[in-house]
Amino acid sequence: MIQVKDLKKQYKETVVLDVPLLEIPKSECFGLVGNNGAGKTTLFRIMLDLVRASQGKVEIDGKDVSKSEEWKRVTGAYLDEHMLLSYLTADEYFQTLRKIYGLSEADLQLHLFKFTEFFNDEIVGKKKYIRDLSKGNLKKVGIAAALMGNPEVVFLDEPFENLDPSSQIRLKKLILQEKQNSQVTFLISSHDLNHVTEICDRIVLLEKGKIINDLKDKSEMLTELDAYFTG
């Protein structure tokens, strides 16, 4: 599904990212962990063609992301609140996306219905601009938007951050559901080791831009990560 080859990102002399090879198969839930400045967000941004790679390339479905834009139709992402149109209300934002993705009104309602519990009655039908929402609610809007239009790949940067504990649990359920029902490939970066080890089949540990561990054994994940981060 996704292939990263010889990827390098350099700002002047400093190499902030150096990934010789990374392959993510379809419907895998891929977790990315690492300390601040390890390059998690940069990697996601390059994968989404939001930042240029200094070297190498990223392919989604065999297509170089910097060369074409068709992959955007099957890719959803929520990295930060700048990805939202802050001057719209949440409803208007979903409507705008509906038109962009070419969905019907029923499709949209069906989609939003999945988030009823997650939204906790604070998003839909509220007369409030997105810019006035709290950080947690911003995140909820962004995540629901990223999952719109039946994407095959979804990028989420720190999805659990700023959410209350019950929303975190609901989000985990939602992600597992989407993965099971629609074979969605998830790429999730997180500092919350408990959550990320629980939902991800594979976790990659990034340090100073390099992959230093690729964990695939679910039973070992948490202990290994714990050892790394305490150590």
Partner: protein, 497 residues
Amino acid sequence: MLFELIRLEFLKSFRSTAFAKSVMVAIFLGFLVIMLLGYLFMAGIFLNKILEAISEGKNTIEVLNAGLIFFFLVEFMYRYFLQKLPVIELESLLHLPISKRKIMHMLLGRSFFSPLSIIALMLFTPFAFMEIANLHGNSGAVYWLGTVVLLSWTLHWFMLWFKQRFEDSLIGVMIVFIILLLGGGSTYMGWFNLGEIVAPFFTFAMGSFIPMGVMLVFCMVGYYLAFHYYLNNAYLEDLAQEEEVRFVNQSVGFFSRFGMAGELANLEWKLIIRHKKSRSFLLLSAFFLLYGMIFYDNPQYNDTGAGGFSFMFIFVGVFITGIFMIQYGQLFLSWNSGYFDFFLNRKDGVKNLVRGKYLLLLSISLVCFLLSIPYVYFGWKFLFIHLATFLFNAGVLIHLIIYLALWKPKPMDLNKGAMFNYEGVGAAQFLMIIPMMVAPYIIYAPFALIFNSYVGLLALGAIGVLGILFFNKLTTININRVMKNRYEISSSFRQEL
């Protein structure tokens, strides 16, 4: 999809917290634009008469063809200063399945709907069909007009690329100077006559469609150049470019005498030199120091007789000593919109912020005044003019500017890079100056008309000194205005970023 993007742009401006202000500015600008275009059209209708008057006995068409290149050099200059670059919130669209090309076409297309695009059309259409059509037929008129208008439009696309590409770089300023030199210098200094060299091209255009075709190709190349540049730079890293830290630990020692206000003036100075947008304002004031060259040595403004001087000079003086104050001051609190709460959170923070800004604006104005002293070369009167206008700026105008700027201040994100975010100097900024320009004349004109120019200057200076004497009282008015509206201001600043 295009329609959807346009609708979103509309919603954005309607829902801006500074909407009321934007509407007022837009209405005011709209009137001005219609008025100016009306004048321009009138000038177009009488262009033949005007040319006849300037060059007695010569063929007006030949005269115009030889002069056209200067029109375009001037157009280059006003486009450089007035043309706004298209702005869009790219971050919120890039990850969606809307192709970048579509966004860029929309962006460039929108920039074309500007009064600047029809100036050439307004000015030259009457001439083409009244004069050229007589001699060369309607087709000749169309070819000629087409060439001229397409050349103007080529400049439009070229400028979109040029301003973005060389923004904040010395090369850009150098090119602008060279063009200025080419226009004025060549003919004036008698090196070569640019008009005569280029005239055959326009003469040829009256009889053949080839020049029009050539310009059409140029126009498309210009569009492609701009399109390609914008497309290739549609990346987040260009939106928020990391800058190297400049002038570390350097501060203006003089400010430290003024306590916390001085400390904040120092901070503000760092803000100015560390952001592209504010640096361009500083560059502009340096540019305007040379503004006097155009007027002071010009015989047209100097032969008023009776020992007086032209009314125009007051305007020039206010500009030279106060352009930074006028331009930077217009966005008074917007510069600090990103961290306004920081000041609210400190004891006397807002009070000292405003005082610090006063201090900084006055200092820069003083520096401009000192730098303008060499104009004495053209006559002592210019020193008096600059002194009087400086006193007036420092005593009266500064309070007026800040008072107006405090009406619904708009948040501004300084940390964004310039690509797609160019909120620097535009036509609105220049035209909003006009009401402020009227102020000195209200004082100056009655005295100058009843007595003479120097009494007018004296009055202007005296009012300025009076303002300086009551400086604390006047600043308190503006400080209280900020304090009174602090909740509205800080909430509007928090909202839109």
